[in-house]
Amino acid sequence: MTATLYGFCAAVLVGLGLFGLIVHPQPLRKILAFNLIGGGVFLLFGAVARRGAAAGFGGDPVPQALVITGLVVAFAATALAVALLLRLTGAARQAGLRSDG
């Protein structure tokens, strides 16, 4: 029951993130929205893991381990995206406005 509830939560989160990803013009907001989608997908994994509780564990440890690696990789991807974005705006500023670097 708890798993189903949070499964619904995950479904709505993915929808919200998708909406933000399409609608927002600023790249940083797109990165945030993408992370929201990621959170929803991880939560879906969590719901599935909770349903798979067996062998004396509160949840299936395999999806849980996948989510842990996923969280760290999602962070790395976010950091890469932010670095790209900052470099891009830096280059745009130097090209467009007068350079005061």
Binding site: G15, L18, V23, R50, R51, G59, P61, A65, A76, L80
Partner: protein, 310 residues
């Protein structure tokens, strides 16, 4: 149950507001709160290991990264780049998002009832390794190859970030949030927190073999402490060309790979551990891996080397 319903509504409200907020900074603060609430959700879903990871990453490094980025972008944002999408596009996006959500919700409802589970196999790998924490057993034994590849992915992301540095800045010291801040309270808090944080990080890493915790959580805390120390100007940033830095970054995957290859000789398969020494070998892998992950995460936050901004 009502607690869970309230928590769900809270998570959704914060997420909606992260999307709807007009200012980027507000959205970033909302996203940090969202990470905190997700840690709650993971506790409720009986996934304490994930809750630890989410708490360490979501309320620490991710928040710092995004706040830094939003404050730098605000100074250099050209208003022309912000054309709002039309009503038609918004409506289409809303319809698409609702369809996707409905589809996922239907999938959640239609999940097979005796839920398929890999827990018995994971339990078997616990027995084989002598570890007490099923998630660590999965990460280090049952699906060790995923973990190895993930660490390589982290390094690749770092290489990607470093490759963004202009040629003239390569080899300079990383411009961390320098010690230009004269407010000495910052130095004080960093001096107190960093040692405590290192102890907590090592503790979380160490209990990972028997209780929730492990190398990712511990490494994230260590990386946050490093970032905090450099934000306060306690440690000076290293140039990315330094040999010791490269060594710390690569020693984890190198040891992991070496022991994995040794598995062919010792136990007959890649990443297989000999039965008698499984726990010891996992520990031998985990220590350098933790150091490497911590260094990689901290450098990911630091970004590409660039000139000091004066």
């Amino acid at each position: 149950m009502s607690f869970d319903i309230g928590l769900t509504l809270l998570v959704l409200a914060v997420a909606a507001w992260t999307i709807a907020a007009r200012e980027t900074f507000v959205a970033v603060v909302g996203f940090v709160a969202y990470g905190l609430l997700l840690a709650f959700v993971w506790v409720r879903l009986a996934a304490p290991d994930v809750a630890l990871t989410e708490a360490a990453l979501g309320s620490g490094l991710t928040g710092g990264l995004l706040i830094g980025a939003s404050s730098r972008l605000r100074r250099s944002q050209s208003p022309a780049a912000e054309e709002a999408p039309g009503v038609v596009l918004k409506a289409a996006a809303a319809v698409l998002s609702i369809l996707v959500s409905a589809g996922l919700a239907a999938i959640v409802l239609l999940l097979p009832d005796p839920a398929p589970t890999l827990a018995p196999q994971a339990a078997a790998s616990i027995a084989a390794t002598g570890l007490g924490n099923p998630v660590t057993a999965v990460l280090m034994a049952y699906r060790a190859i995923d973990t190895l590849l993930e660490i390589v992915v982290l390094l690749l992301a770092l290489v990607g970030i470093w490759s963004l540095a202009p040629d003239r800045d390569w080899g300079r010291r990383l411009d961390r949030r320098g010690s230009t801040d004269p407010v000495s309270v910052l130095t004080f808090v960093a001096q107190l927190l960093v040692p405590v944080g290192i102890i907590v990080g090592i503790h979380i890493f160490w209990v990972g073999s028997v209780a929730p915790g492990g190398e990712f959580q511990g490494a994230t805390i260590l990386a946050t402490m490093w970032t905090l120390a450099s934000m306060a100007g306690l440690v000076s940033a290293a140039a990315v060309t330094r040999r010791w830095l490269r060594l710390v970054l690569t020693i984890g995957p190198a040891v992991f790979l070496a022991i994995g290859l040794a598995g062919f000789a010792l136990a007959g398969a890649f990443l297989a551990y000999p039965k008698s020494h499984a726990k010891l070998m996992i520990l031998v892998i985990e220590i350098p891996v933790t150091l490497s992950i911590a260094a990689t995460l901290a450098l990911l936050v630091a970004g590409p080397p660039e000139r000091a901004r004066q």
